[in-house]
């Protein structure tokens, strides 16, 4: 055996790895069971020792929708076009809250799992992935609720879906990856300098109003505000989903294309910065 030949070894621990080595799919696949168990832990542990248990998955978005209906619909009287406001808000919030949850959860990935990460090694990407997946299940449950309301209003007449709704899985995937990318970038930036943490909640809230959730994109007018809204990569996803549901609003391939391009760039940046930080963070966190 020639000890200088690196090929003889199964593993070489070195100061730095390229991001390709860090995100080796084979390595991640080996930890799939851990991924599943972490997802299960997230889902099961949150609602243990509550009486309503998983029902809270329904109650939370329901309360938000009611709040929105009262505040924006009845008090501020912001027009939702011809679509009933309840189902309009619910539709907008569905993907948005998935995005917001994934961003806020994954952005804290290093800090909340500091203890775990300092004791045992596994590909760190597993943790953000598990967060995206457990929230995906939450999204699934909430989609069922939305479907219920949707069918109710459909039977009442006034809303009609169209074929673009079939793109829903694509929207979900885009939302998941956008949320993950934002979260991963923030998490790697907050490891050493935590200043940014204080801005995250505020930033997400701000971004929420720069997305067509409580208003249709057409309301944004044609001026600067429309461009601000369209710069938000989640806007086209949410607006397109709503168009698919209600056949009202905007469906523009160029808007979706922009979001997709944005996604590819930010995902690449996220993987680079996350892999750069994953080996060092335990010294700086």
């Amino acid at each position: 055996m020639n000890p200088t030949d690196n090929n003889d070894w199964d593993l070489v621990i070195q100061p730095e790895y390229s991001w390709r080595q860090n995100f080796d799919p084979k390595k991640i696949w080996r930890y799939r069971d851990l991924l599943v168990l972490l997802v299960k832990r997230d889902l099961v542990a949150v609602y243990k020792q509550t009486i309503l248990g998983p029902l809270w998955f329904f109650i939370q978005p329901l309360l938000t929708t009611i709040m929105f209906t009262v505040v924006f619909g009845n008090i501020a009287k912001i027009s939702t076009g011809e679509v009933p406001s309840t189902v309009f808000y619910m539709g907008g919030l569905l993907l948005w809250s998935y995005f917001a949850d994934v961003v806020s959860k994954t952005s804290e990935a290093f800090i909340t799992n500091q203890n775990l990460f300092s004791k045992v090694y596994f590909p760190r990407i597993i943790v953000p992935l598990s967060m995206a997946l457990s929230n995906l299940i939450k999204l699934g449950i909430q989609s069922l609720m939305f479907a219920g309301f949707f069918i109710y209003y459909y039977c009442q007449g006034g809303i009609s879906p169209n074929a673009t709704l079939l793109l829903f899985p694509v929207y979900v995937l885009m939302t998941a990856l956008l949320g993950l990318s934002f979260g991963m970038i923030i998490s790697s930036m907050t490891v050493k300098y935590r200043d940014l943490r204080f801005l995250i909640g505020f930033g997400i809230e701000l971004l929420k109003f720069a997305a067509p959730i409580i208003y249709p994109l057409s309301m944004a007018g044609d001026g600067t505000f429309k461009w601000v809204v369209l710069t938000n990569p989640m806007s086209s996803v949410i607006e397109s989903f709503k168009y698919g549901c209600f056949s009202k609003g905007t469906f523009d391939w160029s808007h979706l294309g922009y979001s997709l391009l944005f996604l590819i760039v930010i995902l690449f940046l996220a993987i680079r910065s996350f892999s750069k930080i994953e080996k060092k963070f335990i010294d700086t966190v």
């Binding site: 070489v12 069971d33 972490l38 300092s118 004791k119 080996k279 335990i282």
Partner: protein
Amino acid sequence: MTNIVLQAENIAKQYRLGEVGTGTLSHDLNRWWARARGKEDPYLKIGDKNDRTVASESDYVWVLKDINFQVRQGDVLGIIGKNGAGKSTLLKVLSQITAPTTGQIKVKGRIAALLEVGTGMHPELTGRENIYLNGSILGMTRREITRKLDDIIDFSGCAKYVDTPVKRYSSGMMVRLGFAVASFLEPEILIVDEVLAVGDAEFQEKAIGRMQDVSSKEGRTVLFVSHNLLSVRNLCKTGLVLDKGHIAYTGTADEAVDYYRGSIFENIAKTDLTERTEARTNEYFTVKNIWFESDAGESGDHFVSGDKVSVCIAYESQLPELRFLSVGLGLYDFQGAMVSDLWNVSAEGYRASYPSTGVIRCTFPRLPLNEGKYSLSIYVTMKNTVAYALANAASFKVTQGDYFGTGVTPQIGKGRVFLEQVWSFN
């Protein structure tokens, strides 16, 4: 021929001291600027040797430097060293928790690290759910865990509670559950920190037995870090002594332990108690000196079994009088095993008061120790708060003597202490 399964080449690890703040930002920018121009990291050239007792001149410190070693298959390597010698950092580098600053480690086979028992266990989940969670965190697959589930539950001794959330467990049960999972790990190389230091005696025995099985019967490689020199001697085949981030010695486990004990004894001789910065002390009480006196009142550190010897401790306090003074002296042999725990309270009870400054004398009318080197630790408390504590405060040598006055000297190395004994033959 046995193969090398782990090879560390020039491992070094640098840490920055102090808090993260604007100062680190300027260094980061500097570093980035150097890298942008294609130059070397300017902070890698500097850095002190890691001696925690001396205030550092630089902001950077080398916790590990020039670490080179090899481990062969089936070997059990014990890594020993003082607090701060770099043991934990080396473990973290080996287990990929943190990356080395320079150098590389080459590994053959699956490697798993056990730096803590029950890592990642969630208090709200049941014992069974946590076995799966903890096992998969340590790198087992679900199928593997299912196959071993009954054994794990059996080994942990928590069968009755396995469907109860672990937050209802006693801390001992948590540890046992965690260790049970870990001990059914089957990596080719296992890295173990001092996790054996937890749990009750019965469980510790079980744990050590399991570790021995892993290496001897199953032929796997174990890297074991411990303060407990006895368990290093018992478990390990080879040893490695770390001192201030460097490898001070490599050899068989026995040799390494002897070297380590020897270096401690050397240090004791060199340093004055007032310079021992690792001593724990409070503002009212301090120990100034410790020495040994023979029957003639001469101080020295070399005695013969059966001599009259006093341990003298000069102390000073700011209080007008001392009450409830408890002085404990731990007497240890060369291998670090405790020979006896000497305690004024158990030997004579409490006195009404003690002088505020003076010399404490603990006298052995006839020193009942066999030939060898011994060390003493001091542990002083007042009203149950620690006033002074220092391990390895002083050492002395004993040469063989006619303890029983029979003209027959006892055998060297057969036991450490002489017990008063009466024989009869009827």
